[in-house]
């Protein structure tokens, strides 16, 4: 192993112990680099959380039927309530399940979806919440929804998503079962809480469709979400919509809908990656500063090692090893901190809320950036060390 690089390397201990030579300085650098990697993990966790939230939101078997041209903004979609029955009856590609009384139940969920001001209990400030009017058929289509606590909403009740409190900018206690919220001029009692495998639905408030229509004095729907029958695909529904051009409907796969939302957040993600680069750049300079210090404070020692017979590359590699070791320790500390303290933190954004995701990909990227910081921060000082003339170096104080 000593000659793994075609020349004899300095002992591993040399690099390790050099870090302990100036404990305060090394500790401060370790802290600084840990902070850098933590920040990177937060930003990458943000990006991953956003991506995953939107990608798990699309059920591949679910198709959304909405007004022509409203594919990217369901709030603008308006279809007459009567069309829900027409769709249920006409669409052969919708899954039908055995009902309790032996009749077939169509897996189609007519929904009214909107962003509206929500007042929490008697708080003076209102927040923009996402409200969905639903029916008992909704869980047949929204198959990933799980009631965590309480019950399905009855008349005048609302079922609250796991991340709704974050979306509304309030504490989860404010949305406890039994409390009330006010929107669209009506007070709604919280009947329970639901989760939906981390999807965007978790930021919403669900209330009975009819009650919502009544409160809003609206007769229409935003969309009808249908669960495709086995063997059916989007083209079946698409054909129906194109054949019935008079209905002015359009079919969009739910996964396509959320993918299009992801595209909306492209600039945000780009900005987030830019922040990662800037933070990493700051980390590189921190590391470089420390490693330059390590070289300038050790000129005579490095010249001595060359005099003994160590080649310059071995010395440069040893410095690189020091930087890497520091960066690796910082990365591991940061990853541990992120997994314990950051994972799952809820974040609010315009179309809902999601949780920061410190998963294996995030950790791999964070640790990768940390090591890159170590390498890039050490290379210039290592090159400088390689260029030091031996005779001059031996004279250094």
């Amino acid at each position: 192993m000593y000659e793994a690089f075609g020349f004899r390397l300095l002992p591993w201990d040399y690099g390790v112990r050099n870090l302990l030579r100036r404990p305060a300085r090394s500790a401060m650098t370790l802290f600084g680099l840990t902070l850098v990697v933590v920040l990177v993990l937060v930003v990458v966790g943000f990006i991953r959380g956003l991506e995953v939230s939107l990608s798990v939101s699309g059920d591949p078997q679910v198709v959304l039927i909405h007004t022509l041209g409203a594919a990217e903004n369901m709030e603008n979609s308006s279809i007459p309530s009567s069309q829900a029955a027409l769709l249920s009856a006409s669409l052969k590609s919708v899954q039908r399940q055995q009902g309790p009384s032996g009749s077939k139940v169509v897996c189609a969920s007519p929904e009214l979806f909107l962003g509206t001001q929500v007042n929490i209990d008697h708080e003076s400030e209102e927040s923009l919440g996402l409200v969905r009017g639903i029916t008992p058929a909704t869980p047949l289509v929204r198959r990933n929804v799980q009631i965590l606590q309480g019950n399905w909403p009855g008349p005048g009740e609302v079922l609250v998503g796991r991340l709704a409190a974050t979306k509304l900018g309030t504490r989860p206690e404010e949305l406890a079962v039994g409390k009330t919220v006010t929107f669209e001029g009506r007070t709604w009692k919280i009947s329970g809480h639901f989760a939906s495998t981390g999807s965007a639905l978790e930021a919403e408030l669900w209330c009975p469709l009819e009650d919502l229509q009544l409160a809003m004095k609206r007769q229409d729907l935003s969309l009808v979400a249908i669960l495709l029958a086995s063997g059916a695909d989007l083209a079946d529904v698409d054909e129906f919509c194109k054949e019935r051009l008079d209905l002015e409907l359009q079919a969009t796969a739910e996964s396509t809908y959320y993918a299009s939302l992801q595209r909306h957040y492209g600039p945000v993600r780009l900005l987030a990656w830019l922040i990662v680069v800037i933070i990493a750049g700051a980390g590189i300079f921190t590391g470089m500063n420390v490693m330059y210090g390590a070289v300038t404070g050790r000129v005579r020692e490095l010249a001595t090692l060359q005099t003994i017979g160590f080649v310059r590359r071995a010395i440069a590699l040893s410095l690189l090893q020091e930087g890497m070791l520091l960066a690796m320790s910082a990365s591991l500390l940061a990853a541990a901190f992120a997994v314990i303290a950051i994972q799952g933190t809820a974040v609010r954004f315009t179309m809902g809320a999601f949780t920061l995701r410190v998963d294996s990909t995030t950790v791999l990227i964070g640790v990768g950036v940390g090591l890159l910081v170590g390498v890039l921060g050490s290379i210039p000082p290592a090159i400088r060390a390689m260029r030091l003339p031996v005779v001059e170096g031996l004279k250094a104080i």
Partner: protein, 236 residues
């Protein structure tokens, strides 16, 4: 055949517009097992000559043969490998690696040689015994006195059994009593182990312990002993 043969050795460098010639047309031969001291005032070029022989500096002109190798023709990497096998260097300020123990400092040159761990351990223990520091093996340099540090430095220089050991003012930073002990140690190494030694000093008393004493003045070797026989044999 002499162990060290230098002929017409000149070293020049420029400092701004000024040309400095620390060593001018020096010729010298040192036999195996010899103990040579090189005296001269500060700036006389004695350290330059020492560094050239040790292979850490390059001459402007002239030849240097050490243990049969024309070291002036070697590349930087080849020179490093050559130094590892052929040169032991004793520094005025000891130059021990502060994060390594006495044992580890002495073992350092052996890591560059193809030796098994057991063999290295044996050699380090012998070197430690030779300088009388067996009980200080696990001490770090900061835990040693100046004289002890220099003895570790000497052990490090001899542990690889190099062709030549060079010492640059080895007692320059020590008190008189410790200096004497170190010089005595060098004398013993030369006498008992047959180590070829070239020592630079400005102190006539230190120089006097060597078998041969040379003097440099403004880059010129004043008592040169041209290795006529050896050079003739090489056809130079």
């Amino acid at each position: 055949m002499p162990l060290v043969e230098i002929h017409g050795l000149t070293k020049e460098y420029h400092k701004g517009d000024q040309k400095i010639v620390p060593l001018r047309d020096a010729s010298l031969a040192i036999d195996k097992g010899d103990f040579v001291s090189l005296m001269g005032a500060s700036g006389s070029g004695k350290s330059t000559l020492l560094n050239l022989i040790a292979g850490i500096d390059r001459p402007t002109s002239g030849t240097i043969h050490v243990a049969g190798t024309d070291i002036a023709s070697l590349t930087r990497t080849q020179l490093a490998h050559w130094r590892a096998r052929n040169v032991g260097y004793i520094f005025q300020l000891y130059n021990l690696i502060p994060v390594l123990t006495a044992y580890e400092n002495i073992e350092l040159p052996l890591l560059l040689l193809p030796l098994a761990r057991a063999e290295r351990q044996k050699r380090v223990e012998i070197a430690l015994a030779a300088v009388g520091l067996t009980d200080r093996a696990d001490h770090y340099p900061r835990q040693l006195s100046g004289g002890q540090e220099q003895r570790v430095g000497i052990a490090r220089a001899i542990v690889g059994d190099p062709a030549v050991v060079v010492a640059d003012e080895p007692t320059g930073d020590l008190d008189a009593e410790t200096s004497e002990q170190i010089l005595h140690l060098l004398q013993r190494l030369n006498a008992e182990l047959g180590t070829t030694l070239l020592m630079v000093t400005h102190d006539p008393k230190s120089a006097s312990i060597a078998r041969r004493q040379l003097r440099l003045d403004k880059g010129v070797l004043l008592e040169p002993e041209p290795p006529k026989v050896a050079l003739a044999a090489r056809g130079a």
